[in-house]
Amino acid sequence: MNLPVLKAKDFESDQDVRWCPGCGDYSILAQMKKVLPEIGATQEGTVFISGIGCSSRFPYYMNTYGMHSIHGRAPAFATGLKSTRPDLSVWVITGDGDALSIGGNHFMHMLRRNIDLNVVLFNNSIYGLTKGQYSPTSKVGSVTKSTPRGSIDYPLNPISIAIAAEATFVARSIDTNIKHLVATLKRAAEHKGTSFVEVYQNCNVFNDGTWDYAKNKDTKADCTVELEHGKPLIFSGGTKGIRLNGFQPEVVKLDGNVAQDDLLFHDEKAASPQLAFLLSRMRHPEFPEPIGVFRDVQRDTYDDMINAQVADAKAEKKDGDLASLFAGGETWTVE
């Protein structure tokens, strides 16, 4: 067995971390540093690309290559890099405003292209760096700096958007659920194609407690359901389950009247995205919110295909030769 040579510490840059004390970002940073050695990543072969926002400071804190780019566009930078350098492991770090508001277009197109990137979206449902305006995942009625009477925008559901954009790997985790977050980041790294992970992240300054139902000891068992491939959806300490009633999920008590076989079984490998989408629509407080991997399927990646086309062209036509390019077609000679 090959033991990892690098340690979490080796992925720490010499920069002081400047997030607010108590921010959920610290945990995600710590888990990332833990995950990288475990998956055999190298410092020089790893690149973090971010947009703009609190989460997007992430690359500065990693002793890898990194780019703190412009607002919403990290997927586009990553696409250019990965298409030309498939040898690199490229991570995109983004937030709810960065990915779903200003960068909504790139987010969608990155996913449909299935370029081999790992995308971590820190969802805190608020604009933190600009000091507290509502974001595209804020609930209707959110009272923020820019919405003193409550926001009137209906929020987006990041998982639903990702599935609708043909994402091949879609998962959700929680900043303080360390074990789960580590496992989920590892799965994302292992997946070939775009891996999308939404992380519930607490902004203790501008939107404190927004994910408490999914994080607190007393409520999390009842408010979340862990997805496991091939297993029934059971939560609340084994006392409740999810069953399909037609096309609708429903919560049922496991009190002996419901057989386990009647419950909804998770299938992250399903070719059709319908189940994953249905699960993404289960929201608090009507339903426990699923955490874990919603979808994990295989499809050719953009970076493989763009490079295959180049390799094929080189094999068919031989390596490009300038003199024959120029002389191709009709020419004439002046004596």
């Binding site: 500065y60 696409t79 350098r85 180049v310 080189k314």
Partner: protein, 624 residues
């Protein structure tokens, strides 16, 4: 087998030798005028003429048939002399319908030949062209040598034996017109026959119909009494060498491929389709065997951002667009500049503002190229001067980008992009080698400092995957040397000045401004696609005794080092531009001179005559 000369016999009519001819083919955008023009250009170039072209087409793919909005034109000038423009006045105008006639007649010389397809000169045709009367009868064409040809009818007759439907048969009429024009100017039909063979290899009946139409047009010229003679244009005395025809966008794409090869780089293009730049994307996407990767992005912003990503990874990265797209790329270009990564940003300018005149030419993006980014973010700017020159422009731009580690803007325009001219094929061994060095692995464990600088103020291009050189870059201001995020006031001033100085230092590389003509009197300063017209106008004014010199700027940022000295020799400076005075503004600012403008903003290139008139006017005014 019947030989080509049997089918297309040389004329028995008298033939007049002329130095050059300017022909415009005008018809509906579905009439195949661009194809006709391209064929006429190619065969003329192959016969050794110097050629220059000016395609002019509407923005709509299929504007309503027969309307003025749907008129598509292609102007070709072929000459036995070295020429720099597609010509001012027309020697011949071929019109496929009334709308084409009324929108183009003003450019026909009084001595010119007008050939019309009379089949479209009916009530319906007049109505579509918004005409109350028949322009062939109401005095509109009076004074011109008008030759009326029922081209559609004759074409149908010619291709009848192929059994094509009349709709398909009608589509051959551009080949009939081609046959007639080729006969009139004694052009070689063989290249066109080869073209037909290749183009319609899977549709032999269409190929045959087009051949018959071409032949019929040729025979018509010989038979009709309307033409008393034909014209001959001898080969031009171009410098010896092997030539081919190139269009601007094609030459630019090839220049990029060459630059990649010369610098031992693989090429990445991030682009979003836009007129008139898309042909660069199309051309590059054909050459994947050169290691070319093209990415059609979801929008202009993704296009420039993917380009920066590829540049970070060590590729020769390029983005191409036109004005509206460049406006969207502004923030990305600013990031590319502060990251100090080499890349090329290509703006094939078109008429603006906003969507403007997508298929027409203009030079109105210069100030955007100079200043169109937030903060202090100067970039070197180079402008191509002709279709063939686009090749060299691309190579030079990449030399500067890699030497000084900066994005470089290349300005082209619709006129250059779609225009064609003969290109003397360079000997590949004469092209410059472009040396690029990436720092190697660092094993000493010390943090890498990505913003240390060499004698050109360029920082090292350290690429991901290199051991020990891990570093983070970004849009926040950074400390010179270490590259750490820095809000230090003195450092910011230092960095802004350093980045500006770096661009100015490129003047060491680009060389001095070269003066053509006289070194006193009036100085014409031009840039970009107006080169041909300005050069020709200055040359002709000098032959008329005017004291005038010409500087054509290739690099607009930085200016050549000697430009101030050159300007000082003259009494006045005239700056002709296809905009409202953008270079003039920059010159006034840099040299505090009261330059005179000649500003044409009509979506059309300069005529040599209007430039000459202005040169005479400003030169004469001064002597009074």
């Amino acid at each position: 087998m019947i030989s080509v000369s049997d089918q297309f016999p040389p004329t028995n009519k008298p033939s007049e030798s002329v130095t050059g001819v300017t022909v415009r083919l005008a018809g509906d955008s579905g009439d195949g005028m661009q194809l006709l023009g391209t064929q006429l250009t190619n065969t003329s170039a192959l016969s050794g003429n110097d050629v220059a072209t000016f395609p002019d087409f509407p923005a709509e793919i299929r504007a309503p048939i027969g309307t003025r909005a749907g008129v598509s034109g292609f102007q070709v000038r072929f000459s036995s002399e070295d020429i720099f423009t597609p010509g001012d006045g027309l020697d011949a105008l071929i019109c496929m319908n009334p709308a084409a006639l009324v929108t183009n007649l003003q450019d026909l010389k009084k001595t010119g030949i007008l050939i019309v397809n009379t089949d479209n000169f009916d009530k319906k045709g007049f109505k579509l062209a918004k005409l109350d009367t028949n322009p062939l009868e109401d005095g509109t064409v009076e004074g011109y040598r008008t030759i009326e040809v029922p081209m559609s009818t004759l074409t149908r007759g010619a291709v009848e034996k192929t059994g094509l439907s009349s709709k398909l048969a009608d589509r051959c009429k551009n080949f009939f017109a081609m046959g007639l024009v080729f006969w009139l100017y004694g052009r070689d039909v063989e290249p066109t026959l080869r073209f037909i063979e290749a183009k319609f290899s899977k549709k032999p009946e269409i190929a045959e119909a087009n051949r018959l139409a071409l032949k019929s047009g040729w025979a018509y010229g010989e038979t009709t009494e309307a033409f008393a003679s034909t014209y001959q244009v001898a080969a031009a005395k171009l410098p010896p060498g092997k030539y081919r025809n190139v269009m601007g966008n094609q030459a630019l794409a090839w220049g990029l491929i060459a630059a990649a090869k010369l610098s031992d780089k693989e090429l990445f293009l991030g682009s979003y389709p836009i007129t008139p730049a898309s042909d660069i994307l199309h051309e590059l996407s054909k050459h994947k065997n050169f290691g070319v990767r093209t990415f059609q992005a979801e929008d202009e912003i993704a296009a420039v951002c993917s380009t920066i990503g590829a540049a970070f990874g060590g590729s020769m990265a390029i983005t191409t667009s036109s004005g509206p797209g460049i406006a969207l790329k502004g923030e990305g270009m600013g990031l590319g500049m502060i990251l100090e990564l080499p890349m090329l940003i290509i703006d094939v300018q078109r008429g603006g503002p906003s969507t403007g005149l997508p298929t027409k030419t203009e030079q109105s993006d210069l100030l955007m190229a100079m200043h169109g980014r937030n903060g202090e973010s100067p970039l070197p700017i180079i402008a191509a001067r002709s279709p063939a020159d686009c090749f060299q422009t691309a190579i030079e731009a990449w030399q500067v980008a890699t030497r000084y580690m900066t994005p470089v803007m290349i300005l082209s325009d619709g006129y250059i992009a779609n225009g064609a001219e003969p290109w003397k094929i360079p000997d590949v061994s004469d092209l410059p080698e472009i040396k690029i060095e990436h720092p190697g692995p660092n094993e000493n464990g010390e943090p890498f400092h990505p913003y240390t600088r060499n004698e050109n103020l360029a920082r090292p291009w350290a690429i991901p995957g290199t051991k020990g050189l891990m570093h983070r870059v970004g849009g926040l201001e950074k400390k010179d040397g270490s590259g750490e995020v820095s809000y230090d006031p003195d450092n910011h001033q230092h960095m802004v000045e350093t980045r500006a100085k770096k661009v100015q230092m490129a003047a060491d590389f680009i060389g001095p401004a070269e003066v053509f003509g006289k070194d006193s009197g009036t100085l014409v300063i031009s840039w970009g696609g107006t080169y041909g017209a300005c050069h020709t106008a200055v040359e002709q004014c000098i032959s008329q005794g005017v004291d005038v010199g010409h500087v054509h700027l290739r690099w607009i940022n930085p200016f050549p080092k000697n430009l101030g000295e050159v300007i000082a020799k003259y009494d006045r400076v005239l700056v002709p531009e296809l905009n409202n005075g953008q270079l003039r503004l920059l010159l006034k600012n840099e040299f505090v001179i009261d330059a005179i403008g000649l500003n044409k903003i009509k979506g059309k290139p300069f005529h040599v005559s209007e430039l000459m008139e202005k040169i005479h006017e400003v030169s004469a005014a001064a002597t009074v």
